[in-house]
């Protein structure tokens, strides 16, 4: 990357002749003046742009792409699949009755220098079981009864019931190591306390986040970079310009329409991302009519949406189950494919009110996506009125169960289809914001069956039941996966994104 | 020389210099000057081959109406025309032998203020409002003498301020123009003009914007300035009285040309050009018996429509129909001690009114016992002056302070006073546009101040008003006919009847009824004032209030309007309240006159008596201040000193005391406020009225 300043200087000569402010440029373009907040990688440091907001509590998994830099988790999955890689846990043994797991922790240190101990895991589990502070770990930890420290580096976790191995692994993959005395939402709100590859140097909300190599990181030789700086952008276009002009070395969470202009000059990396799901609120008319929901589910043109809204990036899904998961049954994509005739037929039989209001979030693409759905619904005689909403207002009404229908994201189900029950629109209880007290008992049972199926046959059966009940219930109709996109300078390699969309930065390097 | 008398007449450092007698080498010679402007309607020649010269020590008055080119001539000569549409300036403008127009602009500028200086019409706007007055004068010095130090310049400015009669010059130096009265501003402008002892002094309507008493002071000062500097003076004015008082020679301009030039005495005595003669004849005068004015018919010429013949021909009472006047433009030829541009010069003198031959057509003064149309008793209007955090009233301005008035049916009351005396406040109170603080007003016997709702609306129909500025008093978006019909519309008169009434009125006020549908913009000032008069008369009022109705009009038009007002009154028997600062105009119009000073009436009585033998020293001083258009009676005047005082200042005793020439030290004047008392057949508020001769 040492040639970058030279590049600026060369381009200066070009611009000096053209630019009206030529007189001002010589001094200004002199890169590397002290106090320069410049991007431009200098061998072992990188600047990355992102449009996401940041926080430091690993129990809040949403939009925290950098979180894997601060924390070690019990295990990692190798990229592209679900092969386990020891991380915070050196080894682990699942009890033969599938009702416990005994974990041996790696001898490693937190950033503050203290050794990681079994008590930290015990405290962490306790928090995950606290519905008031466990945040997104509450639901995945629901099968756990308690955690006990066996010795300093061994911890035993007991379950309420026999649990599928995948559920345990997915849980270990999601479980961060946090010092016991820092492990609360309040303590982690503004600064991290982990053992991950990078330490926090500086955090200026809305402006920048600077990370520096953790010299004590247990994985020797990593991270490869000395420093990484995230710069926060509000405007995607500004971030793309910054990448193009060399102000940043990479741009995270690009929008789909940026890919075309970047792919010739930059590496565009795709992460597994989340899923776009069309939700219909079974708690209120007209969607309290299951046959109506089933009819409309056939009128969602996944291919068209992927092609027009996502620029061809992404795979179709029929339900909030991620392709690659053991429970993903692609035959549903044909049996319940887009078919307006079938939809019209079903709708006719369903009866009921033929109009509804669709809330449209401010996410890029959300409105085009809903317009495509609106057009197709119209063709079968269902009138959809679009109501654009600001991001927070959208979220607020979604959680309050006030939206009639909308497109929202669902997280990756990892290797356990039962994780479909994460997220408030898919809860197997009356807290489900889309179905409320109408959540089908068969769904609750199927989720439980998935989580507790410990042999292959039971799993097959449970997954089939789950698929059927979700497709028949038709309140959450899959559209497609929504990949996370990043643009990087060609010189950068080692970029990876894990199954939760967390950036894996410890292998990042420049040529 | 009371005005400037407090200072030394000449700065001690100044070299005494001999005042050259004219004729000699002319200090200013303008020859063949032509100025043209391009306008959307075509080229306008505003100045057409004008030639005149002034010698050192001589005063030349250039007389003319709006658009005659009298100001444009000098502005062009000095390169001060700032309009963007100047198309052509040709000819010569020599100052001490050097043609200014031949000089490059930069060099010409260096002559200004040094060789030739100018004094402008509106002194308040002639000074930069954000620069200290003293610095503005010093700038005139330092522009021509770079070596001058700030300290020396300041000393010189203080001398100049003393010379022009600005009291407390050291304090005044650091003040700003808005802290000066109009008269004081004009003194400053004069100081600026004479700072570098110019060879030529040009004064463009120097007293037009000022009150009569101040006008007299400034004229005195101009005389002093000319004497001090020995400069040749060009006095541009429309006021023949000023000409008679000030000038040695006069040049009369009409439509961009000089039509007559001669020594002042000859001009007034034996005018050769019919225009000169007509102007003189149309003036209302203080010194002669009143009658119908000899108005010049028609309007001042439109320069865009230049005819081949004499520009004055359409209005000329002599040449009128003779073919040579229509086809051949008369040139200026020497005649009788001067020069004149007329095919029939010599006949003009017959146009002058013969004092003895003039019929005494003054209508018999209407008897005082005619039924009162307007009766005002003890009227007062006090304005609070608010200041400070809570806008508390810290002082009051007694704009009108206990005024009694009576206007009889069919008669005219003239209300005279200087600016700020409260005459406009009084007029507006009569319409109840202002709510008086105390007193009563009766219109036709009905109490105006107690009236409300429909009653008030009906009473307001009985009192109508004509304003000074005919350009802003008409609604520019309504046709003149609709403008005139407005009071009738308010009174609920149906449309067809309104129309009929308006057309009749147009006939009466001398407007062509077929023009009723035109917009005001198509009319001249005089015609607009006729529209305003028609509007005032439309609801058949009992009284019409005229607030300076002719002061915005040219002299020739003024007479037409005054005659019209007379005729209308004779015809309809409407009463007039005629508010004006111009005593000659009031004399022409009024049966009874009331003189106002600081919110109170100081003298009132029959016009003839009051003008002949004023008993209040203020009335006397006002009459003395007016320049009389007769060079044979240049008087040694006793003008008032100082400015009209501030109405917020609390006074005890006689309010005129501070400016009274009778001796302001008398105890009675300070102790007791003089009440109006009957003296010599009129009412006067002066303890010593008997002493005023």
């Amino acid at each position: 990357m040492t040639d970058l300043p030279g590049l600026s200087r060369r381009s200066l000569l070009v611009s000096a002749g053209v630019a009206g402010i030529a007189a001002a440029t010589p001094g200004l373009a002199g890169c590397g003046a002290s106090g320069d907040p410049a991007g431009g990688a200098h061998g072992d440091r990188l600047t990355l742009g992102t449009t996401q907001i940041m926080q430091f509590d690993p129990y809040q998994t949403n939009s925290a792409l950098h979180i894997h830099s601060f924390y070690s988790y019990l295990i990692d999955y190798a990229p592209g699949g679900y092969r386990t890689v020891p991380a915070g846990a050196e080894k682990w043994t699942i009890g033969s009755d599938f009702r416990s797991v005994t974990i041996t922790l790696r001898a490693a240190k937190f950033h503050d220098g203290r050794a990681i101990s079994a008590e930290d895991v015990v405290a962490g589990v306790k928090r995950a079981l606290n519905p008031k502070d466990g945040f997104t770990l509450v639901q995945p930890s629901e099968f756990i009864e308690k955690a006990t420290a066996v010795d300093k580096r061994t911890v035993r976790i007991d379950f309420h019931y026999a649990v599928a191995e995948g559920i345990v692994l997915d849980w270990m993959f999601s479980f961060p190591l946090v010092p016991a005395d820092h492990n609360s939402g309040a303590a982690l709100a503004n600064k991290p306390a982990g053992s991950g590859p990078f330490r926090l140097v500086e955090y200026d909300p809305n402006r920048r986040l600077r990370l520096a190599r953790n010299a004590d990181y247990w994985d020797k030789g990593k991270p490869r970079l000395k420093e990484i700086e995230f710069r926060f952008f509000q405007d995607d276009q500004a971030m793309v310009s910054a990448l193009q002009s060399g102000d940043v070395d990479g741009a995270m969470y690009l929008e789909f329409n940026d890919v075309a202009q970047l792919k010739d000059q930059f590496t565009v990396a795709q992460g597994s991302g989340r899923m776009d799901i069309f939700f219909m609120n079974g708690g209120m008319p007209p969607f309290d009519n299951v046959r109506l929901r089933q009819a409309l589910a056939r009128a969602i043109d996944r291919e068209k949406i992927i092609k027009q809204v996502r620029f061809g990036i992404g795979d179709p899904v029929y339900a909030p189950i991620m392709p690659g998961s053991a429970g993903f049954d692609k035959s549903y994509l044909t049996s319940h494919a887009f078919d307006l005739d079938a939809a019209a037929r079903l709708l006719k039989k369903a009866g009921g009110e033929r109009r509804a209001t669709a809330a449209v979030s401010s996410d890029p693409g959300a409105s085009q996506m809903m317009q495509i759905i609106q057009d197709d619904f119209k063709k079968i005689g269902f009138e959809l009125t679009l109501k654009p909403m600001e991001a927070t207002a959208f979220l607020n009404d979604l959680f309050a169960g006030k939206l009639e229908c909308c497109v929202a994201n669902q997280p990756n189900t990892l290797q356990s289809p039962g994780l479909v029950a994460r997220g408030r629109a898919m809860l197997p209880s009356q807290d489900n914001v889309m179905m409320k007290n109408r959540v089908p008992q068969s769904y609750i049972d199927a989720v439980h069956a998935c989580n507790t199926a410990t042999n292959a046959a039971a799993q097959r059966d449970a997954y089939a039941r789950l698929n059927k009940v979700i497709v028949d219930g038709a309140w959450a109709v899959g559209i497609s996966t929504k990949k996370s996109l990043a643009g990087l300078r060609r010189q950068i390699s080692g970029y990876a994104v894990d199954q939760r969309d967390y950036l894996i930065l410890d292998n990042l390097r420049t040529r | 020389m009371r005005a400037a008398g407090s200072g030394r007449l000449r700065p001690a450092t100044a070299e005494p210099h001999p005042v050259e007698e004219h004729p000699g080498e002319p200090a200013l010679r303008i020859s063949d000057l032509v100025v043209e402007f391009s306008t959307p309607a075509g080229t306008v020649r505003a100045v057409d081959h004008v030639t005149y010269q002034v010698a050192r020590g001589e005063t030349l008055a250039v007389v003319g109406e709006t658009g005659s080119g009298k100001s444009v001539t000098v502005l062009a000569a000095l390169g001060l025309l700032s309009a963007g549409n100047v198309r052509r300036v040709s000819g010569r403008a020599e100052v001490a032998g050097q043609d200014l127009l031949a000089l490059p602009a930069r060099e010409r500028r260096t002559r200004l203020g040094a060789d030739v200086a100018m004094i402008f019409q509106d002194p308040m706007s002639a000074l930069d409002p954000v620069q200290r007055v003293g610095d503005q004068i010093a700038e005139a010095l330092r522009a021509h003498d770079r070596a001058l130090t700030a300290r020396t310049a300041r000393a010189r400015v203080l001398e100049l301020l003393t010379l022009v009669g600005v009291p407390q010059p050291a304090i005044r130096y650091d003040q700003y123009p808005h802290q000066f009265s109009g008269g004081m501003c004009q003194r400053v402008v004069i100081a600026m003009a004479i700072a570098n002892r110019p060879k030529v002094l040009i004064a463009d309507e120097p007293t037009t914007a000022l009150d009569v008493s101040v006008q007299a002071q400034i004229l005195e000062l101009l005389r002093l300035a000319a004497r001090e500097t020995g400069a040749a003076t060009v006095l541009i004015t429309h006021d023949l009285g000023v000409v008679a008082e000030m000038a040695d020679r006069a040049a009369v301009m009409y439509a961009g040309r000089i039509v007559e030039t001669a020594p002042v005495a000859r001009i007034f005595d034996r005018p050769q050009h019919p225009y000169t003669a007509s102007l003189l004849a149309s003036l209302p005068r203080l010194d002669q018996p009143q009658g119908r004015l000899r108005a010049i018919p028609g309007q001042p010429p439109d320069l865009r429509e230049r005819s081949a013949g004499c520009a004055f021909a359409p209005r000329c009472p002599i040449g009128g129909d003779r073919p040579e006047c229509r086809t051949e433009r008369p040139v200026l030829v020497a005649r009788d001690d001067g020069a004149v541009a007329c095919h029939h010069a010599g006949q003009a003198v017959t146009l002058l009114p013969q004092p003895d031959a003039r019929p005494s057509v003054a209508p018999p003064a209407r008897p005082d016992d005619a039924p009162a149309v307007v009766e005002v008793v003890g009227l007062a209007k006090v304005f609070p002056i608010r200041r400070g955090l809570l806008a508390r009233t810290v002082a009051t301005a007694r704009a009108v302070d206990g005024v009694d008035l009576r206007i009889g049916h069919g008669s005219t009351l003239g209300l005279v006073g200087e600016s700020g005396c409260g005459k406009s406040t009084l007029a507006r109170s009569l319409l109840r546009l202002l709510e008086p603080t105390a007193g009563s007003i009766r219109i036709d016997g009905a109490d105006l101040l107690r009236a409300n709702g429909r009653q008030l609306r009906r009473l307001r129909q009985r009192v109508q008003m004509v304003y000074q500025d005919p350009y802003s008093s008409l609604n520019p978006r309504l046709s003149v006919g609709d403008n005139a019909a407005e009071p009738l519309r308010l009174a609920g008169v149906p449309r067809t009847q309104r129309r009929r009434t308006v057309l009749e009125l147009f006939e009466k006020v001398g407007l062509r009824p077929e023009h009723a549908d035109r917009l005001p913009a198509e009319f001249s000032g005089g015609q607009r004032q006729r529209v305003a008069i028609a509007r005032a008369l439309a609801p058949s009022p009992a009284v019409v209030i005229f607030d300076e109705p002719v002061s915005a009009l040219d002299v020739s038009v003024q007479a037409q309007v005054l005659n019209l007002l007379r005729d209308l009154q004779d015809e309809t028997g409407v009463a007039y309240l005629f508010v004006s600062h111009d005593l000659s105009v009031v004399r022409q119009m009024a049966d009874t006159v009331a003189v106002m000073y600081l919110g109170a009436i100081v003298e009132t009585g029959a016009a003839s008596q009051l003008y002949r033998r004023p008993r209040h020293p203020y009335t006397r001083a006002l009459l003395d201040s007016i320049p009389v258009p007769d060079p044979s009676i240049r008087r040694q005047r006793v003008p008032l000193t100082g400015d009209p005082p501030d109405p917020t200042a609390a006074t005890t005793g006689c309010r005129f005391r501070s400016r009274c020439p009778l001796g302001r030290e008398r105890a009675a004047c300070a102790d007791r406020t003089p009440e109006l008392r009957q003296v010599d057949g009129r009412w006067t508020a002066c303890h010593f009225a008997e002493e005023v001769a």
Binding site: S15, A19, L28, A33, P131, S241, N409 | D128, Y176
Partner: protein, 315 residues
């Protein structure tokens, strides 16, 4: 003068209190709160309630407002929901950036506007004046975000001459870097401002040049340059000062669009983000700062007016 100042300060406080209530009411009227944002889409009901309680958002709005007022009176503007920093600290980090950009933008605008306005006023018929008129028309018509994109594409993306993003570097410590990182956003904000100011200046200057006193000054024999600079300009400055004040006020209030496009860490971007995140205390603090800026600028403009115009000063 002191009574005047006292009255102004009184007005000040009233406006401030009203503004704070209005801002509070408006932000609360928006659906959703910081707990919703913080907890994220995957959070459960009890978690959100817990977050709400932790942030104090479970109290009645009026109580929250009064608590904030209580803090504000003692100098604590509260705490951002999203960072460990106090609102005062957050603002204190942003305000210098915004002030620097605003001042730089305004200086540029004046640098462009004064010669253009003067030239158009003095030589309205010249070819150059006509060309500059074109600039003024274009500058007013072109939205500044479009200009910003144009600058980014030509000077940053295509040629790499300047960074596409802006950033705040203290000018007094690193003047070159500071200019480098703020010159493009400064140009983007300056062009529009310069057109408005130049128009005002041209109009009032040409009006002043027609006034009688200019003729008097010329008649004194004063050089034309001095006529313009010392007499005409000073008078023409009066109405222009007001426009400059308003312009500077809106720049100091933060230019949301420009700051977003250049990713400049100014107040506008902070407010924009904070409104989206329902970060009430930051929004409140930021808006009140903007209100104070406007009030102070207004006062300064009035004082400058009084300084420039003795008719006001000595009335």
């Amino acid at each position: 003068m002191s009574a005047y100042l006292l009255r102004r300060v009184g007005q000040f406080l009233v406006v401030l209190v009203l503004a704070s209530i209005a801002v509070w009411a408006m932000v609360y009227a928006l659906p959703g709160d910081a707990a919703t944002v913080l907890a994220g889409p995957d959070a459960s009901g009890p978690q959100i309630a817990a977050t709400r309680a932790r942030l104090g958002l479970d109290k009645p709005v009026v109580v929250q407002y009064l608590l904030w007022v209580k803090g504000a009176v003692t100098g604590h503007l509260g705490q951002s929901f999203y960072s460990a920093d106090s609102v005062s600290h957050t603002l204190a980090e942003r305000i210098p950036a915004t002030v620097q950009l605003a001042v730089l933008g305004m200086l540029l605008a004046l640098l462009i506007a004064i010669p253009i306005g003067t030239l158009i006023a003095l030589r309205p018929r010249s070819l150059l004046a006509r060309l500059l008129h074109g600039y003024l028309t274009a500058g007013l018509a072109i939205p500044s975000f479009w200009l910003a994109l144009l600058l980014i594409i030509t000077l940053a993306v295509r040629t790499h001459a300047l960074p596409a993003t802006g950033d705040y570097v203290n000018f007094w410590q690193h003047p070159v870097a500071a200019l480098r990182w703020s010159i493009l956003p400064a140009i983007a904000v300056a062009v529009h401002g310069s057109c408005i100011i130049a128009r005002f200046l041209a109009t009032s200057l040409s009006e002043v040049m027609q006034r009688d006193f200019i003729r008097t000054v010329r008649a004194k024999g004063v050089r034309e340059s001095r006529v313009v600079i010392r007499h005409a300009m000073r008078n023409a400055a009066l109405p222009t000062v007001t426009v400059v004040g308003i312009q500077l006020g809106s720049l100091l209030g933060g230019t949301v669009v420009i700051e977003a496009l250049f990713n400049y860490p100014g107040l506008g971007r902070l407010l924009y983000t904070s409104i989206g995140q329902r970060d009430y205390a930051v929004v409140q603090g930021g808006v009140l700062f903007v209100v104070v800026v406007f009030l102070v600028l207004n006062l300064l403009v009035d004082l400058l007016y009084a300084y420039l115009d003795p008719r006001i000063r000595l009335a």
